[in-house]
C-alpha cells in the first residue's frame, strides 16, 4: 500500500475552493460527471468516458464533511478503493491552501488497469481541449 500527498495553492477564497470540490455541477466541469453531495454517508459515482478496458465508473462514499475545512471520501473501482482527503486552509493573502491525501493505493492494481487508461485518456483529451499538446 502506498500513499500520495500533494499541496495546491489557490488565489480564490476558501469558500470558492470548497464549492469547487463539493458542488456537483462545478465538479463535473473539472473532474467528471457525478452525483456527488457533501453529506456524510452519501454514496456517489463519478462517470468518465467508458473505454474498452473500463466502464468509466468510479464509486464513492462520503466519509467526512467539515465545511470549509475538510472533506474526505472513498473512491475507486473493484478492489482498488482509495481514501481521498482534502484539507482546506485560508492563506494570509486571502487565498486558499489545499492539501490532498490519497491513501490505500496498491502496489500492483491489475484489476484497476482500465481506470488508469481511462484517466490517461481523459487527461489527453483535456490537454487537447486546452491546446496544451
Amino acid at each position: 500500500m502506498k500513499d500520495l500527498s500533494l499541496d495546491f495553492q489557490f488565489t480564490s477564497s476558501i469558500n470558492k475552493v470548497w464549492e469547487s470540490l463539493t458542488d456537483s455541477e462545478v465538479l463535473a466541469k473539472w473532474m467528471w460527471k457525478n452525483d456527488f453531495k457533501p453529506v456524510v454517508g452519501h454514496v456517489f459515482q463519478f462517470r468518465a468516458e467508458p473505454n474498452e478496458w473500463w466502464d468509466g465508473i468510479l464509486n464513492g462514499e462520503v466519509l467526512e464533511v467539515d465545511e470549509p475545512h475538510k472533506l474526505s471520501y472513498k473512491l475507486g473501482t473493484g478492489s482498488e478503493i482509495h481514501t481521498v482527503t482534502w484539507t482546506f486552509t485560508k492563506s494570509e493573502d486571502g487565498g486558499t491552501h489545499l492539501h490532498l491525501d490519497q491513501t490505500g493505493i496498491s502496489d500492483n492494481p491489475g484489476a484497476f488497469e482500465g481506470a488508469k487508461y481511462g484517466q490517461t485518456e481523459s487527461i489527453g483529451k483535456l490537454k487537447k481541449l486546452l491546446g496544451e499538446l
Binding site: K2, D3, L4, L6, F8, F10, T11, S12, K16, V17, S20, V26, K29, W30, M31, N51, E52, L98, L100, Q102, I105, S106, D107, P109, K116, Y117, Q119, T120, E121, I123, G124, K125, L126, K127, L130, E132, L133
Partner: protein, 107 residues
Amino acid sequence: MNEKSQERDVYVAIADPTRRKLLRLLAEAEELPLHELTTQFQMGRTAVSKHLAILKEVGLVADRKVGRETRYRLNADPLREIQDWVTFYEKFWNDKVALLKKLLMED
C-alpha cells in the same frame, strides 16, 4: 502548473487507441515491418507511420532498416513509469487542479 512546455510523454503516447493497438501487436511479435502493421488498420501507411513515430519518440518502440523496409519492435521499459501508481495519481490530480484553476480564472 504550466505544462505547455512539457515534451511528449509516455502517458500521451498511450492515450490513443491506435497506438495502444500498435503496442499490443508489437508485444505479440518480436519484430514487425511497417507494411504488416498497416494491414491491421483502416488507415494508410503514412498515418500508421506517424503513430509509430510518436511511440518511438517516447522510447516505446525501436526501429531498424532491413533492406528497403523498416522493422519495428516493442521496448516496454517506459511503461514502468505508468506502473508506478503514485506517480500516476500525482499527475492526474495536478492536471485536474490545473483545469480547476483555469475554471476559477486563476491563471
